[in-house]
């Protein structure tokens, strides 16, 4: 509901937008302004801006605010009409009586509001209720919708006080239906008259992709201006984060560097969620490590993860489609984008037609256009949990390692062709990397051997169009992690059989020694299938005796 806005002092850097929106009735009345489409990435504060606008208008009394969220709306036309209509009546009454509780009291039937409306001198609103109930009794679907959508306009005309209509996630209105999904296209155009009314400015939000499609409707063209909501500047992002922490009685350690917050790209939702995550994790004096842990919690199981997960589910529709969608998104994250549909269908596993439809939905939702690092980490976490079957602790550790290692470690990347002796280039590289880490020669030899084996395996299982092996070396004082990836045939840990040597020799099995060596040398070997690539992660913990003084 509109009253659960954050405190105004924590709503930073949107004063200009807020003032402009408050002035919309005057501008629209003089034909100098129209309706406004708030544009911005998810979490950038569009809904929060609507709530702040609502709260401000509610108490200032220059115009009547009406807020409706399509996010949770029942899109069956008759239900929607009733919900929209009653929401308006309640909010109008609440504003007239300056009693926010009336707006939230969804259990109060409309007839019980009649005495209050009567005492406030709003007979026209009583007429509206009677008219709406009449249409409902007649079961006239179309006129129920028209009556509901027109009520804010009627209110503005009858009272002489403008009504600012705020439609959150308005693109969902394009999916309004009569009895079954998809049976009544174009019902969104019923809003056209309301949008055109000079006493009723509309402020709408929604996915830019979806609204682009809606605004091709001629009745809605030309009346709406876009208002982009950008990220918070770095200093304000930090101020906001600290303010949230202060509200949660969390202090920042003096040594903490908040540059890590750059990853949030000034997104107020993310900033708030991480602060809340720190609270949930009972942090008291936040260090950088705590901050990263809170972030990992947030992207794997916190509100941010839940938010994005809900978005994925909404656009996927079914459980099977959601799985395919996560596969596609992970593919996009890993490859920096998506390629042709035929190939992506192999990744999604749901066929070309459904893959194409899914890409369309992702595009409409604006998810594919969204390049933020937080979303990428949420996708990674979803993938690891839902597809790779990892438990949440493992996933959080993986994400944390990425950021901790980035800050404390060096990272080298290498790509080799699948040609003979290319693995020797890798052996040379690890030799130098090991020397940089002061590792002793013996350990270096073993690391080289392990890497040779994994590279040979990658080349044997390769054979795809890519013909390359991708390597990443992440070094920390106490650990060396090597990630080897190649496309091609699937290779899994299950294919590594541990047959006793005697049995192997007796059976004349001469191959299959490579991974035995790798497992003997490394402290941890993880084999995963990430889309059409096999990823092997080798980890070696460095002990003191393995370092040359």
């Amino acid at each position: 509901m509109p009253f659960n806005a954050i405190p105004a002092e924590d709503f930073l850097n949107r004063e200009n937008e807020l003032n402009y929106l408050k002035g919309l009735p005057a501008l629209k009345g003089k034909a100098l302004g129209g309706d406004v489409f708030l544009e911005g990435a998810r979490g950038m504060g569009k809904t929060e801006l609507l709530k702040q606008l609502y709260r401000s208008l509610f108490w200032e009394d220059q115009a009547v605010p009406f807020y409706y969220s399509f996010k949770t709306a029942n899109l069956k036309g008759a239900y929607f009409a009733k919900d929209y209509f009653t929401a308006f009546v309640r909010q109008y009454l609440a504003c007239a009586k300056k009693d926010p509780s009336l707006a939230d009291n969804a259990a109060e039937p409309l007839p019980r509001l009649m005495p209050a409306l009567s005492s406030l001198g709003l007979p026209w609103l009583i007429d509206c209720i009677e008219n709406f109930e009449e249409q409902t009794r007649k079961n006239d679907f179309y006129w129920q919708l028209v009556a509901a959508i027109a009520t804010p306009v009627v209110a503005a005309q009858k009272s002489g006080k403008p009504v600012i209509v705020m439609l959150d996630d308005f693109d969902a209105a394009s999916r309004l239906y009569e009895t079954s999904i998809g049976d009544a296209h174009g019902l969104i155009s019923l809003f056209a008259e309301s949008l055109q009314n000079r006493r009723c400015p509309h402020v709408i939000t929604g996915s830019a992709g979806a609204l682009d499609a809606i605004f091709t409707d001629h009745s809605l063209i030309g009346m709406t201006e876009r208002m982009p909501l950008g990220p918070l500047p770095e200093n304000l992002a930090i101020t906001l984060f600290k303010s949230h922490l202060a509200n949660l009685q969390i202090t920042c350690a003096s040594s903490i560097e908040l540059e890590f917050l750059d990853i949030l790209k000034g997104n107020p939702l993310y900033i708030r969620n991480i602060a809340k995550a720190a609270g949930k994790m009972q942090k008291q004096e936040l260090t950088k490590k705590d901050l990263i842990e809170s972030y990992c919690f947030e992207v794997s199981t916190g509100e941010t993860a839940f938010y994005w997960s809900s978005v994925f589910s909404r656009y996927a529709g079914t459980a099977a489609n959601r799985k395919a969608m996560v596969e596609l998104l992970m593919h996009s994250v890993e490859n920096g984008g998506l390629e042709e549909v035929a190939r992506l269908a192999l990744v999604s596993g749901v066929g070309v037609t459904e893959t194409e439809a899914m890409l369309g939905r992702l595009e409409t939702a604006g998810i594919l256009r969204n390049k933020d690092a937080v979303l990428r980490d949420v996708i990674r976490c979803c993938y690891l949990q839902e597809i790779a079957g990892r438990d949440v602790n493992d996933v959080q550790e993986k994400i944390a390692a990425k950021y901790l290692s980035e800050s404390e470690a060096s990272c080298f990347e290498l790509v080799i062709p699948m040609t003979s002796n290319a693995e020797l280039v890798v052996a040379k590289a690890v030799e130098q990397i090991g020397k940089n880490m002061n590792l002793n020669d013996e350990l270096l030899n073993y690391l080289q051997l392990a890497l040779l084996e994994v590279c040979i395996n990658a080349m044997e299982h390769g054979g795809s169009y890519e013909k390359k092996v991708f390597l990443k070396f992440i070094t920390r004082p106490d650990k060396l992690e090597i990630v080897i990836e190649n496309s091609g045939r699937q290779f899994s840990a299950d294919s590594i059989t541990h047959i006793p040597v005697e049995e192997k020799l007796q059976a004349g099995m001469k191959r299959g020694w490579g991974f035995k060596l790798v497992y003997s040398i490394m402290d941890s070997v993880k084999i995963e299938r990430i889309n059409d690539r096999t990823r092997i992660t080798l980890t070696k913990d460095i002990t003191e005796k393995e370092v040359v003084k």
Partner: protein
């Protein structure tokens, strides 16, 4: 690891062939080792010493080819001895549990003595 191109040299010492693989023993170089040994076997030689003093690295395919030579010799009741293995090389075979199935000598002369004594 030295970047020495693989080569294989050999000589005959009495009734034993001594093979010197040099460099990185992998699939390609392992094949030449198999061919070299095969040449001696076809001449009736059943005692082979592989001197690893100049072998700096061996991969699992190289190991499997070495096992191939061991099996070929076993089929003709021959013997293969490995000598001059670096600690790293020994440890590699040890890791795989193969060392106990090989005749390993510190130096080439020890292996030749063993073979000439007929303790096969």
């Amino acid at each position: 690891m030295k970047s020495v191109p693989f080569s294989v040299a050999s000589r005959l010492e009495g009734d034993a062939a001594v093979i010197y693989p040099k460099g990185y023993l992998n699939n390609l170089s392992g094949e030449s080792l198999v061919i070299e040994c095969g040449n001696y076997i076809s001449q009736g030689i059943t005692k082979i010493v592989v001197n690893f003093s100049e072998t700096d690295l061996i991969n699992s395919i190289g190991i499997s080819l070495l096992l191939q030579i061991m099996e070929d010799l076993k089929n003709i009741k021959g013997t293969i001895c490995c000598t001059n293995m670096s600690k790293f090389l020994r440890d590699t075979f040890e890791m795989l549990g193969l060392i106990q199935h090989m005749r390993v000598f510190p130096v080439e002369s020890d292996a030749l003595k063993y073979l000439s004594a007929g303790k096969v």
